[in-house]
Amino acid sequence: MDTSQAVLVRRPERWDQPLDPTMSDDDVRWLRTRGPFAAMRDDSFSKATPLLGILKNDCRIRRCQRGEILVRQGDYGQSAFFILAGSVRVSLERLPEESLGRPIPKRLSWRQAISQLWNRFPFAEVRSPAEITSHDQTRISAIDKRPTISLQDFSAVFHGRRSVGLGPGEIFGEIAAMYRTPQTATVISECEATILEIRWQGLRLLRRDPSFSAEIERHYRTHWLIPHLREIPLLRFLPEDVLQRVADASVLRSFGRMDWHSDFQKTRQLSANEQIQLEPLIAIEGNIPTDLIILRAGFARVSMIHGEGHRTTAYLGKRDLFGFTELAENMLRTEQSPPIPLAHSLRAIGFVDTLHIPAETFTEWIFPYVRRGEIRPSAGRGRDTSPLTEAAAPPNPASRERSERRVVPRDKPGEPISDPSTTHSQHVSTGLVEFLVQQRLNNGRETMVIDLDRCTRCDDCVRACATTHGGNPRMIRSGSTFDHLMFAQACMHCADPVCLIGCPTGAIARDEVSGTISIHEPICIGCGTCAAACPYQNINMTEVRNHLGQPYRDASSGLPILKATKCDLCHTQPSGPACQKACPHDALVRIDLSHLGPLDQWLGTRR
């Protein structure tokens, strides 16, 4: 075989998969004349990605009917919406979930729960007709061959509720698209409206236009930055005006790629060194810290130079700090002692959105409001052996507590200051940290971890999961293994739930209080977007049957009705996660891996 001769193929291009293949050039030209696009200059964009190309491939014109639900509060979005014509109504109050088609499932009573033992069908995945289609307050229809979900009675939903209208030229949903944060309001089309949907890839490209980018950023800073800053525990004592100064001084930056999950299968095969090399650097070990870095979304790897390579010591998630300890030490040092450099490097895993607060701002406006007791000594001067759990300084240990009934308020302020880069975990080895990062298991907030040194392979967990789900378990007792820990195949209820992105009806959604991601089957249309998006393949599309075993089929197309199924943390069962309850040897646990603390603590009890 002559290996020097190449095989000629066509290189895959950026816009091989346009958002709307039916977008015509006429539409594009018309768009070019509307709104902000009219003011944009072509030379702002590169030749590879011209403005027209963006408009053609990364945009879609949606014609909406009255009552169509465009975005839902709490959903993750991947598109911004620009109103071309018509108006939409933004609800300022939280709309009841039933009106959006996804009623909060009621907890089963004890009697109902026990009756699951004998109300078992001999067939898998039995559903009643009510669970197949929603007939209540929403209806699902296809518009432009696009599944949509609409309110049955628009005025009834908004009656007595505060809302605001948005008209042509206004844009919404761009923050959620760019920064992977949940939507903050529900937006419903008020009348027949024409809306331009811009997916986030295009949005990022459009930000090359200075005015557009400034507009977006101004919008963010005006409406979202202060609330985001308020969520950070370090800044909780800052008064309003100081916080405004900090906000004005802070810089928003992004690293990495938002579509990390699409090529995750490839990158996880690489060795740790190669992976580290690929990751974009945010901060470099040995440099004098110039900014306090706060992570707003995504995950970042913290590593130290070790021999010829880099050793991962931790990973950071949302609202974690980097460089705080070094900056604080530098603040407190005397004039004679030299400034302390960064002890670790920071790299973006997947994508990371950061907030960089300059050191001067930190010195002047932030540090005075930090409790002295919450400052830990730097790890640069020798290994800090204090365990991670101690580093989690007071004030709110309740939020750290993992009770049997897993209710963990996320996205809520009040979590203690943690600077995991300067702390050392006793029981989590470097290899495990790197494994977690490599497999992106750090995304999981309810990762099913099985201690193989205690698991007797009895399958009680599988049976318990099956009992609570009509005989079919939502988990598999197998998965990637590191040393004696197995990370089993069950929905991890990720911190960064990529499965939520793209659900056309909002059937898959995160519960605001508990953080559980569950699927509301009546409005699930079985498109399989979530199953394809999940990088861990924890979502399964199943055929559903009635109690006689007959599969449901679509009346018009004759295709079998599929529903997405996955672990739901037994949120309707009185007991909470049945798998964890059922394990007789404390081998299985649903654990939050977005911080190393819980895992470290759990491993510490294994003696």
Binding site: R120, P122, E125, T467, N472, I476, S478, F482, Q537
Partner: protein
């Protein structure tokens, strides 16, 4: 640290772990979505592609568990349905004795010998006892056999004694001389699991513990579950014995100390075994010396006779005048006296031998014989209390009358002699005494004696010379001879008795008479002063007239039930204990006056027992020395 290769993620497939069958994965790589049905048939199976479902572990587990449970229930059903049900259910063998007795009964009835419910139907368990067994308790079933050794009515009482009996025992102990028990010691009964009067047999005697199980084995704690004052160790907290076993004086006033001194003066050792140990008797020389019995109160014959018989013989040598006609001063009555009974002739009714002017004296026994005659008793009283001195003058008319009456009464007494005693005495006590006194006398001899003496009453007046002649012609040798028995002195008109020695029946009766109210106190006193009587009474101090048991030597209150059993025999085998004084020490008193009093022994010291009776030595269990069933128990079957 082992890092596993990243495994490809498997999509979640249809996996129903609760089913009993799973797909056999015949030719396909993955199972079909349907899976086998509950009974194990596969819908996808075709003749070309036979898919055989495989049984899951849960099915195999169910099978195994069901078979084990079925086996367990099956055994029960078979056992309960078979005729060997009782043998199957019996919880272990009985003790040998019970097993042997019940061995012959049918298995179906064996349990009913002791268990009330065994004889009942199953349904009776859910209702009150059946009609046939109303009121039956297990105790009554025990008593059905054991009533010969324990009274059924007493079976459930504590120590088989009623509360009143226990109280009286307690009082007896408290009232003993030198009882130094404090008041706090008195209450011995404490709160218990069982009440005092309903202590079931099974409270202590638990069966079904194997054939060699000792039914009477009980721990110290068991015994003390009733006793409020509990004793931890025999050698430390067990109370001292104080009066036990001596318990005060017995019926025989025996003075160990004086005997000790006596033997010492003869240079002989006072060997306890001389008296207190019965050696092999002549009649049974086979009995070895080692099996000699220790007796607390030996018999007179074995212990005392060798020394005291000669003394008694000597004391009784003089004999006792049972019937001695009194000497009266008939002459003092004069010729013109009308008091003399008879035909009026002077001196016609009184023997001349008994006429004298002595001071009046009548022997106590003679007075007793006359006691049924009130006139005679009055006369005796008059004469006894008077200051009449015949040689000082004439008697007073009362005295003269008394003399006359007494003479007449004496004559009539003689006439009654030989007739049944009922004619002599009125009270039965007197008759009993008389019967005992005169039992050896042949009736004919009495008759002859009476006739001979009555003949003297009819003698005419004679001169002094005639009197001497008659006296000379009287039967010679009237003093008693060397042999025991009755003697007659015709000269002084006396009936004498010479005793046979110890335990002479007549002497017993005489001693009892000397202690009874049949005699006047003065006469009693006089009788007691007789040598033989005083000899008897020196040792036999507690004579109750009419109660012969008072003569026997026995410990005080022999009928008291004893909670303690003690046998000298095993102790005598130990060389050091062969000397009785190791435990029994005589309390030597220095006061000579008190020395004549019967002396006690010093209290037995517990420490001398505790030397050997230690837990690892001779044993210090309660049951070793104490018994629970306090009624006299015969040897068990």
């Amino acid at each position: 640290m082992r890092k596993a290769d990243p495994q490809p993620r498997l999509p979640i497939t249809i996996d129903r772990p609760g089913d009993r069958w799973q797909c056999g994965f015949c030719e396909s790589e993955s199972p079909c979505a349907r899976g086998p049905s509950a009974d194990g048939t596969c819908c996808q199976a075709t003749p070309e592609n036979p898919c055989r479902p495989v049984r899951r572990w849960s099915a195999f587990r169910r099978l195994l568990a069901t078979s084990i449970i079925a086996a367990g229930c099956g055994i029960l059903l078979i056992a309960f349905g078979s005729p060997w049900r009782q043998d199957f259910l019996a919880p272990g063998s009985l003790t040998q004795s019970h097993a042997q007795i019940l061995g012959g009964t049918l298995a179906s009835q064996r349990c009913a010998a002791c268990h009330v419910s065994a004889g009942q139907d199953w349904s009776a368990w859910f209702s009150s006892a059946g009609e046939h067994h109303r009121g039956t308790t297990q105790d009554s079933l025990c008593m059905a056999c054991h009533h010969t050794t324990i009274q059924p009515s007493r079976g459930t009482l504590a120590h088989n004694l009623s509360d009143a009996e226990l109280d009286s025992l307690r009082a007896f102990r408290d009232g003993l001389e030198n009882n130094r028990w404090n008041s706090t010691d008195r209450a011995l009964v404490q709160s218990v699991v069982h009440s005092e009067n309903t202590i079931a047999c099974a409270a202590c005697h638990r069966e079904h513990r194997g054939s060699q199980h000792d039914l009477t084995a009980l721990s110290d704690a068991n015994c003390q579950s009733c006793h409020r004052r509990s004793f931890e160790r025999f050698s430390t907290t067990h109370p001292d014995w104080k009066q036990w076993p001596y318990m005060g004086r017995g019926t025989i006033a025996f003075n160990h100390q004086s005997h000790h001194g006596y033997f010492a003066s003869k240079n002989l050792a006072l060997d306890c075994t001389l008296c207190h140990q019965q050696t092999a008797s002549k009649s049974n020389p086979v009995t070895s010396a080692a099996s000699s019995k220790i007796i607390r109160v030996p018999s007179y014959e074995s212990a005392c006779a060798s020394c005291h018989d000669p003394t008694l013989q000597a004391a009784s040598a003089g004999g006792i005048a049972v019937l001695e006609l009194p000497t009266l001063d008939i002459d003092a009555l004069g010729d013109d006296s009308d008091e003399i009974p008879g035909d009026g002739s002077h001196g016609a009714r009184w023997p001349a031998e008994l006429t004298a002017a002595d001071a009046f004296h009548i022997s106590p026994l003679t007075a007793w014989l006359l006691s049924s005659d009130p006139q005679a008793m009055a006369a005796i009283a008059t004469l006894s209390h008077s200051t009449y001195r015949p040689w000082e003058g004439s008697p007073t008319p009362a005295q003269a009358q008394a003399i006359g009456e007494l003479a007449a009464a004496t004559e009539s007494l003689l006439q009654k002699l030989g007739t049944p005693l009922e004619t002599l005495f009125v009270t039965s006590l007197d008759r009993q005494f008389a019967a005992d006194i005169f039992h050896g006398l042949p009736p004919q001899w009495i008759h002859e004696t009476a006739e001979a003496w009555l003949a003297r009453f009819a003698v005419k007046e004679s001169t002094d010379e005639e009197r001497f002649e008659s006296a000379a012609s009287a039967s010679p040798g009237a003093s008693p001879g060397p042999l025991q028995g009755w003697y007659r002195d015709d000269l002084s008109l006396r009936l004498e008795y010479r005793g046979y020695g110890h335990a002479d029946r007549v002497l017993i009766a005489l001693c009892e008479l000397a202690s009874s109210s049949a005699l006047e106190p003065q006469q009693r006193e006089e009788l007691r002063k007789l040598p033989i009587v005083s000899s008897c009474l020196q040792c036999h101090r507690k004579i109750v007239p009419g109660d012969r048991s008072g003569w026997r030597g026995h410990p005080p209150k022999p009928e008291q039930p004893s909670f303690t059993r003690f046998s000298h025999e095993p102790h005598l085998k130990i060389g050091q204990l062969a000397d009785c004084t190791y435990c029994h020490r005589i309390e030597m008193q220095t006061n000579s006056a008190a020395a004549l009093e019967p002396s006690d022994f010093l209290p037995l010291e517990r420490v001398s027992c505790a030397h050997c009776h230690q837990p690892g030595g001779a044993g210090d269990q309660c049951t070793q020395c104490h018994r629970y069933h306090v009624e006299p128990i015969k040897k068990s079957l």
